[in-house]
């Protein structure tokens, strides 16, 4: 299958108190079109840093990232912004909706900023997304008036409004209780089945069990890979979870 994203010898070094901290060390990675990829690993191993670097939010120190046939290291700030805006979607653990905007505004802002389509059409698509994620009744709400799970689903709508080729999710369920987490995962599952590539970082085995391929990171490198079949029904979940757990145990999770 075709790769949508490829990282080659990716390195990231932070300078902190005049000392170099190598967070990503010559990391190699391929993400296939349409797949649901999960990244796991101990805290501080560099998972978030990996996401920031392959999406061009942060400048890599060395190596290359190719996304949709474009070398990110050769693009300037504006071009990277445009790629993130139009071709990538992001979901964060802290949810990170814009504080002073309402739910609907948070969802449509990326599309309005892109300015490629009629505003009516954007609104229409936003409504569809909200229906799909089950928050259609919140169009007029402020972000202070809804639950954490609903917020994260709104964040997913925001990530999808520009019909991105890939969705990055950094612990999308990290701040949610288990039933809200389930809701969010079933939404992600649904959009993956509809064709959106997902790359997700998680600590949670139950969450990771929704993905079809799991990478295990230790200390800035990918140390292992585990393949599951594409998720089809909820009934499989228990089984996937336990097989994944066994593998993770071996990896030292």
């Amino acid at each position: 299958m075709e790769n949508i994203l490829e990282a080659k010898n990716l390195s990231k070094t932070y300078l902190l108190n005049r000392r170099q901290h190598h967070i990503l060390k010559n990391l190699n990675l391929k993400v296939k079109k349409g797949e649901f990829l999960a990244v796991m690993g101990p805290s501080g191993s560099g998972k978030s840093t990996l996401l920031y670097n392959i999406s061009g939010m942060d400048k890599m120190t060395a190596g290359e990232v190719v996304f949709a046939n474009e070398k990110l290291s050769q693009l300037n700030e504006d071009q990277l912004s445009a790629i993130r805006l139009k071709k990538m979607g992001f979901v964060f653990q802290q949810i990170n909706l814009l504080k002073n905007l309402g739910i609907m505004d948070n969802i449509i802002i990326s599309a309005f900023m892109a300015g490629d389509e009629k505003r009516d059409e954007i609104s229409k698509r936003a409504h569809e997304l909200m229906k799909k994620t089950g928050i259609i009744e919140l169009t007029e709400n402020e972000i202070t008036q809804v639950s954490g799970g609903q917020l994260q689903r709104a964040a997913i709508c925001r990530a999808l409004i520009n019909q991105p080729q890939i969705l990055f999710a950094d612990e999308p369920t990290g701040a949610l209780n288990s039933s809200a987490a389930e809701d969010v995962m079933s939404v992600l599952q649904k959009i993956n089945q509809e064709g959106t590539t997902i790359m997700m970082v998680t600590h949670d085995v139950k969450v990771a069990a929704h993905s079809e391929r799991i990478l295990y990171m230790i200390d800035g490198n990918i140390e292992g890979e585990y393949n599951l079949d594409k998720f089809k029904e909820n009934s499989e979940l228990k089984e996937r979870e336990s097989s994944l757990s066994r593998w993770l145990l071996n990896m030292g999770f």
Binding site: S48, T49, Y52, M57, D58, E77, D78, S81, A82, I83, R84, L85, K86, M88, F90, F92, Q93, Q94, N96, L97, L98, K99, N100, L101, G102, M104, D105, I108, I109, S110, F112, M113, G115, R119, I122, S123, A126, E140, N141, E142, T144, R158, A159
Partner: protein, 778 residues
């Protein structure tokens, strides 16, 4: 525990380095200006007193042209108990075309009366720049300060007066500090020459006498005036008294000092606003910590104290530094005063009062911070811990949603929306922009007003192309008629109107007779702008100047009594006009001229041809007249005032730009620090830096433009009122700003917009490197 508190304070100071610095600077500038301004007022007062003392200023001066019987005057004043000293001095008024000051260009264009005098014997001395009595030897001359400044003269420069046959050369050995004719707004100047030279110059010009008195008691001045005017003693010419002299000397610098103090107060206001902004910001940021401190039992008083000490420290040190700088800048503030009025001996008060003024600035700040800090009490421990930071919006946002907007650019929309929803946050910026606009526009408008041709209407004169003043001489009535005949035959004269000013007795507010110079003639030809009512047309009508109407407590439509040809007559007041000449107290009536008591003759005319040529022609054909182009007259008499105003306008422009840049950058930096995580999220989801910056520029420019609009409106209304109030002292109670559309509505707003935009862009540089990676680590 103390440690925790100090950690908070330290953090607070570090995090708000920029804004704290700004507050410091504003307090300092405010202290500097108020100390400087008050010092200037004290200097002005001291210097004037010293000048009046050293020169032994006259209390009452009657100018007179024509016959003079010295004996009569001497006898009269000897009998008068109130008179301490009297003195008659002669001045020779020589036409400017004969006078060359340090060069080959004559003073033919001057509007000044150039008078040559000997040093006075008994009082009203002319002083040099060291406030010593001027002594001049043969061939030497002392030149008024006005020319020192205007022509940039040096001691040793030469001056030439051309007679018909002979030429007189002088060397300038002193500059005249002249208590009587110093101010540039007085259109007469005195040159001092040796007695021998005086005799030689005598045939070159017209003689004019000054009959001067010093009284034993200044309180008797008004009474003395009236008594003198009731005598048959010479009075063909204007009078000047002690009060008028003081005011003429003080008005320019006094106004400047007042403006400086006003600006200081505005700066202080800005400092207070910034302080409020910081305190509220601190509260918001430290809300939780303060709550925790309360929860573990620290009294809110104690917490408050710690914050308070910080502001106390800043207020005191900043004011002190402002005061110290003001000492250094003192020379600049007092330059004009030192030149025109001279230096007085230093006194303790000169040091003490400005110091106290600076302290008052500090006191303002301290009291204000105490008031704002009262909010500490309102923080409840539980609430603070549970909520963390308090909500940010002042208005419910759902009514103003991006998704409902149809066409507006999204960044611009978000910028506008933010200003409206968080309006309290932007209040500081808004008020600063209003003040900034106000502080620039008012002086610019006033400058344009004073420079406009219409300003002549504040001098109680209708607008005309040329004014002819006919000097007193024996056959003046005859010459007056000749000139009128000449004008009647001149085809280029479109219209003209002669005026004769004579002395009349009127019954004043106390029911007593008082002498008043009344200009007579037809006032419908050259229309004056009246504050109320209109020109006096009928024989029993009169118009009063604003100050006179104030003094008599009369309004349009009321009547007053006037003695005409020995018989009392009731006069209807038809109009009140503004006049800053002759101490502001004048009157106009369309009654038959009284040639016997006529003090001066003028003719106003409009012509169709070239003004300069016409003036030259009349100068050729008429003798002993002063022919002025009113615009020119104005330029020269108000030169010093205009220069001072220009300096002030320029300084306020620079100060305002500095303030605007400082506050804007401060504000944007604070705002972006506050919005840091929001900006990082926007960048993360792919909103371009360009769009984010556009949003912030929109915010700043939106607030700026509102500020400019409101600032301009207040400048044109309130500013006009303030200027009018200040100038009503000298007789102009209703200044109408002449607004230069180009300067006030185009250049200044564009300048502000440019500086604000650049500042915003510059202040937004820090968001270039902002990344969500940094935010989420925190």
């Amino acid at each position: 525990m103390i440690l925790v508190i100090y950690k908070i304070i330290k953090n607070d100071l570090l995090k708000k380095k920029v804004i704290m610095t700004a507050v410091f600077i504003f307090i300092m500038l405010s202290a500097l200006l108020i100390a400087g301004g008050s010092r200037m007022l004290i200097d002005l007062n001291n210097s004037i007193n010293s000048l009046f003392d050293k020169s032994s200023a006259a209390h009452f001066i009657q100018s007179h042209t024509g016959e003079l019987n010295e004996e009569e005057i001497l006898n009269w004043s000897r009998e008068k108990e109130s008179v301490k000293k009297h003195q008659i001095s002669e001045m020779i008024s020589i036409d400017g075309s004969k006078i060359f000051i340090n060069g080959e260009k004559s003073e033919s264009d001057t509007v000044m009366d150039l008078n040559f005098v000997k040093q006075n014997q008994d009082f009203d001395y002319m002083l040099n720049l060291n406030n010593q009595k001027i002594k001049v030897n043969k061939g030497e001359i002392a030149v008024p300060i006005y020319y020192l400044q205007r022509l940039d003269l040096n001691l040793g420069d030469s001056m030439k007066i051309e007679g018909d046959k002979k030429q007189f050369n002088f060397k300038i050995t002193s500059f005249v500090r002249d208590v009587q004719m110093n101010p540039s707004i007085i259109s007469s100047k005195r040159f001092v020459v040796n007695a021998d030279d005086f005799e030689k110059l005598s045939p070159l010009g017209e003689s004019e006498y000054q009959i001067a008195f010093q009284l034993n008691d200044l309180n008797q001045l008004q009474q003395f005036r009236d008594e003198y005017s009731r005598t048959e003693l010479p009075q063909k010419g204007p009078t000047i008294d002690y009060q008028l002299l003081k005011m003429a000397n003080a008005v320019t610098d006094g106004l400047i000092a007042a403006v400086i103090i006003l600006i200081s107060l505005l700066l202080n206001l800005i400092a207070l606003l910034c302080l409020r902004f910081i305190i509220l910001l601190t509260l918001e940021e430290d809300y939780r910590e303060i709550g925790v401190m309360k929860a573990i039992g620290i009294k809110s008083k104690k917490i408050k104290k710690i914050y308070f000490y910080k502001y106390l420290f800043i207020a005191l040190t900043a004011s002190l530094m402002g005061y110290i700088f003001s000492i250094a800048l003192n020379k600049l503030f007092a330059k004009n005063i030192a030149l025109y009025i001279g230096k007085a001996p230093e006194s303790l008060i000169q040091v003490l009062i400005p110091f106290l003024a600076a302290l008052i600035v500090a006191l303002f700040v301290i009291i204000f911070s105490l008031i704002v800090l009262r909010r500490f009490k309102k923080i409840s421990a539980v609430e603070a811990i549970r909520m963390g930071s308090r909500g940010d919006l002042n208005i419910n946002s759902s009514s103003f949603s991006l998704f409902k907007s149809k066409y507006l650019n999204s960044s611009i929309f978000l910028g506008l929306r933010d200003v409206i929803l968080r309006y309290k946050l932007y209040a500081v910026l808004f008020i600063v922009f209003i003040l900034s606009t106000f502080i620039i526009i008012v002086p610019v408008n006033f400058l344009n007003t004073i420079q406009s041709a219409d300003f002549i209407s504040y001098m109680g004169v209708g607008k005309s192309d040329i004014i002819i003043d006919i000097r007193q001489s024996k056959n003046i009535e005859q010459r007056f008629k000749e000139i009128i005949n000449y004008l009647e035959d001149d085809a280029e004269v479109e219209k003209f109107s002669p005026y004769i000013t004579s002395q009349y007795e009127i019954i004043n507010q106390d029911g007593e007779a008082e002498n008043l110079m009344v200009e007579t003639g037809d006032f419908s030809i050259f229309q004056l702008d009246y504050l109320e009512g209109g020109a006096p047309l009928l024989e029993n009508e009169i118009a009063l100047s604003y100050l006179l109407a104030e003094q008599f407590n009369k309004k349009v439509g009321e009547e007053m009594e006037m003695i005409i040809k020995g018989r009392p007559q009731r006069m209807l007041i038809t109009g009140i006009y503004q006049d800053i000449t002759d101490g502001g107290k004048t009157a106009k009536a369309n009654i038959e001229a009284d040639f016997s008591s006529a003090a001066w003759y003028t003719i106003n005319l409009d012509i169709s041809g070239n003004r300069a040529e016409k003036i030259a022609e009349y100068k050729q054909n008429f003798e002993d007249v002063k022919i002025t182009d009113p615009d020119e007259y104005f330029q020269q008499t108000f030169k010093n005032t205009i220069d001072q105003l220009e300096l002030l306008t320029f300084s306020s422009l620079v100060i305002v730009i500095l303030i605007t840049v400082l506050i804007t950058s401060l504000f944007i930096k604070t705002l972006t620090a506050k919005d840091k995580s929001q900006i990082a999220v926007k960048k993360a989801i792919g909103i371009s830096l360009k769009n984010i910056k556009l949003e912030y520029i929109t915010k700043a420019l939106f607030v700026l433009n509102l500020g400019i609009i409101l600032g301009t409106i207040t400048a044109n209304t309130l500013g006009e009122k303030i200027v009018s109030a200040a100038l009503s002292i000298v007789g102009a109670a209703e200044i109408n700003f002449k607004i230069s559309v180009f300067q006030s509505y185009i250049i200044i707003p564009l300048l502000l917009i440019l500086f604000v935009s650049l500042t915003v862009l510059w202040s937004l540089k820090s968001i270039n490197d902002l990344s969500i990676a940094d935010i989420n680590v925190e």
